[in-house]
């Protein structure tokens, strides 16, 4: 059981590692537009890395439906509860 805030903290490390950028900050409002390295190619990488880290699975519908990092973190938190 992780809170949305805890998910965000851990997700930040996954983002940093996957996108190879130590300066990344995540807020619930962050979107792909805010992070230079976050493109369609690395999006797939992020999805897979997050699934591995949290030991969860996203559905096909979910990976295109999140409007921002906050929605994604909420979804992860729900899956873990």
């Amino acid at each position: 059981m992780l809170t949305v805030k805890e998910v965000l903290t851990q997700a930040k490390e996954v983002f940093k590692d996957t996108l190879d950028n130590d300066k990344i900050e995540l807020t619930p409002e962050t979107t792909a537009d805010d992070i230079e390295e976050w493109d369609s190619l690395s999006h797939i990488q992020l999805i897979v890395a997050l699934e591995k880290h949290f030991k969860i699975k996203f559905t096909t519908a979910e990976i295109t439906s999140y409007k921002n990092v906050g929605q994604m973190a909420e979804s992860i938190s729900r899956k873990l509860s």
Binding site: T18, D20, L41, I44, Q45, V48, T64
Partner: protein, 582 residues
């Protein structure tokens, strides 16, 4: 057991590494799914082999169209490699729609075969084609194996036919995606979500494994291959310590943990028969260690399977240096097996380039782990490979014998060397190709050729070639040297390739060959032999080769030898075959 395949996210961290000093290869990738992740993984995997990939991706899902269109980018650039990855999903789709299911494999293989022939006629690139994962589509269950109406029946037939095709086409190599699939399993190899979302089909980790697999094929064609395994004995080749436990108490054979060591020995025996040299490096009394090979009934490996046997109380590092000096191969082509992590670390630290697998603690896992590393990728296999162990044993005998002579020439004369010198022909063609792939040190320009290339050269009137097969009173060295000459002009013959196996260094073979080249040149009315040295990290030994032979360096970086007035070199090699001018 540790997993030797690097996952995608870790592999691609190499993507940004500096590869400016590495050899650049131009590679085309064609797939019928979104291949960008594969391309990125491939580039990263090549960097681990010290290669730099310039990768061009064909338009999405256009394999056939790209090959058929003679104006396509595929033929505009001169690619070194073309990688083709047809997916099993698209194959499945075609199968579903096929009207005559029983003919599906035949039709598919004919189509692939035609495309490959067309591609090979238009490009000199090496082609790497993946085979198909044996996907059970759940339509027939096990009855798939009992009817030619099932998809599985046809995938398996296609995979076998692809092997037959690769045997026929020397420039076609198969990347065994089915084999990777069986390691991964269905749920790990495919990613249903990525297929729907981005037509990626495979999981990122599977694509990473495929990239590592294909880069291994490329590296082996580029000459990055393992040639020798150096073996520790106690607790590596058998259970227990021979010096303490005695020959009756070491573990080897069908009982208990002895079975694990027998498995390892059988595996090593098969590798030896494929041409991998086995050497022993052990802290033991030599006679005690050798007795096991001579007398223990459970041993698969015998003394005549071992090319160099070193058992003493020196350090392993010193002994490996000695083994390397006898075999004359690069450290990066050697693998060191030792159960002791401490010894492994010392060897890793002091001998850069040598491959030292971290053997699992439990000997029962040795073979499984070593198999999974896929260390012995090769781009060729010829009759010479079967003779190699014997040849190195003969070399060790020669080294002993040489100690009796103070004069180098007397020693060479006593060997009673006989050479057969002749052009490339259909029989020695695979060996010449292999020699261009394996030789790193005595290799003036390091151009790698496949069988196909050599065949083309053989029939091209602009080329001439000479090969040397050598034997002496200790045995047969086999075909150990070759030159490929290209006509530059009516007066100049360019030495495109000059290679020699390091087993025959300092025997005078190069002098003998130079004499032949001069004769060949003069008979055909040429005035100059033109040589070139292209430096690599490994061919420093031939840096001054042409100058030492009396070639004159010119401002264009090449070396020139005037054929008239050439003083034939003195050698002690007897020629037992006159070359036939091709």
């Amino acid at each position: 057991m540790q997993d030797p395949v690097i996952p995608y996210n870790i592999l691609v961290k190499n993507f940004k590494k500096d590869s400016s000093g590495f050899k650049t290869l131009k590679i085309a990738v064609m797939a019928d799914f979104a291949s960008q992740h594969y391309a990125k993984a491939l580039q990263s995997a090549l960097i681990l082999h010290r290669l730099s990939g310039y990768i061009w991706e064909a338009d999405y899902n256009s394999i056939e169209a790209t090959i058929i269109n003679q104006d396509s980018e595929l033929y505009q650039q001169h690619f070194d490699y073309i990688i083709i990855i047809p997916s099993v999903h698209k194959l499945n789709k075609r199968f579903s729609h096929s009207a005559q299911k029983s003919k599906f494999a035949d039709d598919t293989i004919n189509q692939i075969s035609d495309l490959i022939s067309l591609l090979l006629s238009r490009s000199s690139a090496r082609i790497i084609l993946t085979n198909f994962q044996e996907l059970n589509d759940g339509i027939f269950g096990n009855y798939s194996n009992k009817t030619d109406q099932s998809f599985l029946y046809h995938i398996r037939r296609i995979n076998v036919e692809l092997m037959t095709l690769a045997i026929k086409q020397p420039n076609l190599f198969i990347a065994d995606a089915q084999n990777l699939f069986s390691n991964f399993g269905m749920t790990q190899a495919f990613d249903a979500k990525l297929f729907i979302h981005g037509d990626i089909i495979y999981s990122l980790d599977f694509l990473a494994a495929l990239a590592q697999n294909t880069s291994g094929i490329i590296a082996s064609i580029q000459g990055d291959i393992k040639k020798c395994i150096v073996l520790d004995l106690d607790n590596t080749l058998w259970g227990g310590v021979i010096g303490d436990d005695g020959i009756e108490n070491i573990q080897i054979g069908d009982l208990g943990i002895g079975k694990a060591f027998s498995m390892l020995q059988n595996w090593l025996y098969d590798l030896k028969n494929r041409g991998i040299i086995l050497a022993v490096c052990s802290k033991n009394t030599e006679s005690v260690a050798k007795e096991v090979f001579e007398k223990h009934p459970g041993m698969t490996l015998r003394l005549n399977d071992i090319s160099v046997f070193v058992a003493n109380w020196e350090t392993k590092v010193d002994n490996i240096l000695f083994i390397q000096s006898v075999l004359n191969i690069g450290f990066d082509s050697m693998v060191f097996l030792d159960d002791n992590p401490f010894e492994r670390e010392i060897v890793k630290k002091h001998i850069p380039g040598i491959e030292v697998p971290d053997l699992p603690e439990d000997p029962s896992e040795y073979v499984w782990y070593l198999r999974s590393l896929n260390l012995f990728e090769t781009a060729s296999f010829s009759g010479e490979d079967l003779m190699r162990t014997k040849q190195y044993q003969e070399e060790a005998t020669r080294l002993e014998f040489q100690k009796l002579f103070t004069n180098e020439r007397d020693f060479l004369a006593s060997l009673d060397m006989k050479a057969v010198i002749k052009p490339v022909d259909n029989f020695n063609c695979p060996r010449i190709a292999q020699l261009t792939q394996r030789s790193n040190q005595f290799n003036l320009r390091t151009i790698r050729y496949t069988d196909e290339d050599i065949k083309r050269i053989m029939h091209d009137p602009d080329y001439k070639s000479l090969t040397v097969t050598l034997e002496d009173k200790y045995g047969d060295y086999g075909l150990i040297s070759a030159v490929i000459l290209r006509l530059l002009s009516s007066s100049e013959l360019f030495i495109d390739t000059w290679i020699m196996s390091c087993r025959v260094l300092k025997r005078g073979v190069e002098l003998c060959l130079l004499n032949e080249m001069v004769t060949l040149g003069l008979e055909s009315g040429y005035k100059f032999l033109v040589g070139e040295y292209i430096p690599t990290p490994k061919n420093g030994m031939v840096k001054n080769h042409y100058e030492q032979l009396g070639f004159r360096p010119d401002s264009d970086g090449r070396y020139y030898l005037e054929l008239t007035n050439f003083n034939y070199k003195d050698t002690v090699i007897h020629k037992s075959g006159k070359y036939v001018n091709s």
